[in-house]
Amino acid sequence: MSTATFERGYAAFKEQIDSPIAAFFNSCVHCGMCAEACLFYTETGDPKYTPIHKLEPLRKVWYQEYTLLGRLTSLLGLTERLTDADLAEWKHLIYDSCTLCGRCSVVCPVGNDLVYMIRKAREGMVAAGHSPEGQIGAAKRAVIIGSPMGVQFVTLQAQIKHAEKTTGLTIPIDQTGVEFLVVLSSMEIINYPEYLEAIAKIMHQADKTWTLCSSAFEATNTGIQIGSSDIARQLVNRIVEAAENLRVKTVISPECGHAYTVLRWEGPNLIGRPYRFKVRHIIEVLDEFRAGGKLKTEGFEEARLTFHDPCQLVRRGGVIEQPRKLLGMVARNFVEMEDAGKMNWCCGGGGGVSAIDEAEELRTKVFNRKKIQLEKLKVDTLVTACANCRIILEEGLEAYEMDLPVVGLTEMIAEHLVEDK
């Protein structure tokens, strides 16, 4: 029976190292600027959270396996070998204290993409059996049941019925040849069913054909979060097969940051070929509708509101302007948060951290950054475009006893749609 071993982990590190990783390790001058960009350092003051330090296991393997001097010195037994104890120790740093938010990758003066490295380091950690329990459970549920939260299609069907009733619109399932395949995150199915209603209303108004798919409704990908390409491939394949079978033109990623990253950027590389369809984030689609005059809204939000940029959308996805243009249609009192856009601070729960029970205390502590930002702004409503951010924001606000409603951008747009004539 196969099992995770240190050797498998070491082999996985070796497999993951490529030219960019080598260039990054060669270039680090230990300037410490990545620490100042990291929520986990700035809010705790503990230097062990310095991003480049989190990559020590990967660096050791690179040095010993892929550098001339490292090979020679390790032949002579002069280098410190990577040990299983190292990995056990680094588990906290590689998983609990990194949300893959990518702020460090943007500030590094020599240009190191630290998130790229963390993502690869997790491959080794998974293979060595040092991934967090919470994420292992989620991955198992995703593969076996179909969703990390254990949501089955029957659950979604119940929500569909409810949405059809509320909106008076039909929600198409498994339709072929339509323009859009809409996939959801289980958080949206369980916590925010308004999202599905919003999609139905918007598609109806824009006069677009779309469908859900009974075999591929779940977009969150625990494989990426835990750091296993093999599991991620298995999960993303469901959507690829569905999209290609249904012959849709575009797959719409839900309001979920990492789901977008997997579908849009990693998916083709996981399956080893380009897609035969496009992938767009719902915010991108809405903005296209807006630009094409297909999105008609009426009335404005009077509340003072701000927007929390999901990291995977801005720093790892290039979606910065679109949500602002959409907000412009429905909000009068929109204010920008400090460092908004490319440099926005993470909510603290991305990259799978929200699934790790042991990380909850730390996650709540680093939410302090968001708390300070929001207190400065004195807003009445917080808008975001990621279901995971939304949950973390709500939890964080509750922990710090702040009374501030958090709304999804898609729903907010849907609420202002011009009703049928």
Binding site: D18, S19, P20, I21, A22, A23, F24, N26, S27, C28, V29, H30, C31, G32, M33, A35, E36, A37, Y41, T42, G45, P47, K48, T50, H53, Y66, T67, L68, S105, V106, V107, C108, P109, V110, G111, N112, D113, Y116, R264, W265, E266, G267, P268, N269, G272, R273, P274, Y275, K278, V279, V314, R315, R316, G317, G318, V319, E338, D339, K342, M343
Partner: protein, 221 residues
Amino acid sequence: MMSAVDFLAWVRGPMFNIALIIFIFGVIVRLLEMLLIGRKPDYSEARESAFAGGVRTIFRRFMPADTGTLQRSTTVIFAGYVFHIGFFIVLLLFVPHILLIKDTLGIQWAGLPTPIIDAATVMTLLALLVLLINRLVNPILRFLSTFQDYLIWLLVFLPVLTGYMAFHHFIQPYQLVLALHILSVELLMIVFPFTKLMHTFTLFFARWYNGAIAGRKGVKA
């Protein structure tokens, strides 16, 4: 005992040869061993040009990412700038250095008057001292720093210091201090390929990779 003149002849001759061989050989090997590992192709649909992103980031990272970063890492950024700019002014615009480059590479350019070089040297030395103190005092840097970080600091500090001392005749005879200066540069050349000094070359690749990855996604990294 070797006289100052013999010492100078040795550092200008055989020792320079040794240092040059190790430097060139090491840098080429290190770059090739890095570049030949290879990487997987990216099949995702690009939003923008990865190439343009790579080029942009190579230049973009000469500046701090944003004002917040500048505020949080003021010392490192400011002293880092002064050190790097000062070091390159002294290295590339002092006439005797240009003549060395002309002799070895066959290219040359105009130099700066020595009082400017002198001022740049002092600024560089001060910036290096600030960087060292910062490394010893700042909790992140103290935590991150290894023996190599301090060794490289010293090996970078020495050529600047001995160059300054040579120019001002702090040690007599002049041949001795000139030889010490050249030797310190040779030590720097010898350790260069095997330490973080390689960032001089590899940072362009690192920025390129980072910028290309981000550029593909439409992110201006």
